[in-house]
Symmetry: C2
Subunit: 317 residues, 2 copies
Amino acid sequence: MTAARRILVTGATGFIGRHALAPLRDLGFEVHAVARAIPGAPPEDAAARAGVQWHEADLLAPGAARALIQAARPTHLLHFAWYAEHGKFWDSPRNLDWLAATLALLRDFAEAGGERFVGAGTCAEYDWSGTAQENRFDEGSTPLRPSHLYGAAKASAFLTGSLLAKNAGVAFAWGRIFHLFGPGEPAARIVPALIRAHLLGEKLDCGSGTQARDFLPASAIGDAFARLCASDVRGAVNIGSGRETRLTELSAILSGLIGNQGDVRFGALAGATPERLVPLIRRLTAEVGWTPPETLEEGLRKTVEWWKSRARETRRD
Amino acid sequence: MTAARRILVTGATGFIGRHALAPLRDLGFEVHAVARAIPGAPPEDAAARAGVQWHEADLLAPGAARALIQAARPTHLLHFAWYAEHGKFWDSPRNLDWLAATLALLRDFAEAGGERFVGAGTCAEYDWSGTAQENRFDEGSTPLRPSHLYGAAKASAFLTGSLLAKNAGVAFAWGRIFHLFGPGEPAARIVPALIRAHLLGEKLDCGSGTQARDFLPASAIGDAFARLCASDVRGAVNIGSGRETRLTELSAILSGLIGNQGDVRFGALAGATPERLVPLIRRLTAEVGWTPPETLEEGLRKTVEWWKSRARETRRD
């Protein structure tokens, strides 16, 4: 019998982190989770959280990471915690605090004999200035040239964390997240905005809609990170489905699922977002051995159901 | 008359920083310099230091940068301070402390209304794994892929510092230093080792000697940084002479200058250092408008003189 693999998950109540707990448990990990304040589990998370041992800590407080690691003694660490407030996180100086906290956490983990660290990166680490054809990001060859402080701080955590881990004999992997959606997403983001427009038959002004993105449900991303933790793969790994969807197509799928038509006006807004931002996912599929557990349509259907149930609850209020 | 440009130089007693003071003064800056402990100026630095206002601070101490900036009120900041102990700096965790201190310094400078920040980067930020032909590093296209913690922390300071400065409206430039030499360099490094071998007629085992590098005297690098500070150029700028010299050629030049032959055995050591590590310097020459103030031979001659004077002093002891 091999020694128990004990994993500590930071940001474990977050939009993605909550979805990594059950897959990690199913992969044989003893799961420890950390959050600033442990909330009462909403009913839909109760099964996912079964058997998880919770720790309360503010990773930005000096010494907190060290105490946490001494308490949980993890062999593995899956680090999602970061500042992520919608609309504000792109250029907030808080990214600097999380860069420092991430490196301190890794250092404390290494000093305590930790074996494997997996961090949450972002497609915003890459150079987005290429042509549409070039914007299929490859972990090995696409330059890191972030346009916002968020991507810069994440790229810095990757670069410095990689070498810090290497010197300490800790295996280091870094999952770069692309476009995500799912129940609980802020209403102003593109998938909820489209769902609400179709559900309610409302008007929504959009950019051209021709932009191609790779959308994954947050639950699938949590699952992919769990597999990355259980694997021996090191370095950066793009997290995506391998399927490109234009925003116009996404809107059409949602309209079909909902059986209703919003007044979605593509082309109404001038937009300067890149035409294509998609990952090459050879490392994830061939090396980690992961494939999405559900189709895009299935993930969108669940998200639509969630918004419908919220609408019902709102009406009952 | 324009408002006075007041520059604060960190690491101002260091191997390069000491050489930036006089050129900055000559370019019209009011020069403020910071060091952990202000030493008595050695005689050869007295002229360079004329008119410089000194501040004593340990930039790793919490709050020290803020107090320093409040005292000096600089419009410009030239940041050399970093951990640089020969043989140890490549993979020391102290690089993390200097990454954090650099970002904190920039943040404090921006909050105090600073206008322009120039930092000292390194060729070790780049990917060194290319072929000899590819290893001519271009600021815009060569990937940042450091092999050591030092390069990773410097690249992180560049990436995160660039965006932090951009958001705060501070002009940000980053000079990437290549190979340097000069009086006072640790004896174990390649130029002093070759000089001593030739001066003393001693045996020195070396690698193949075919490796091409771009060598600049530390005094020229200080001068280049002063010009970069006075310019409007933003982003990364390689600091080099544009001349490639193989180690065998370097040894031959030194042997000629010294008029003596050491027993330098190229090929005696197996080495895995890249065959070529040289910068493209179009930005430095065409945009900043800098050219080296002296030839490689002249810089080497001064360094040889310094080692000769040291040998005389040693004999007098």
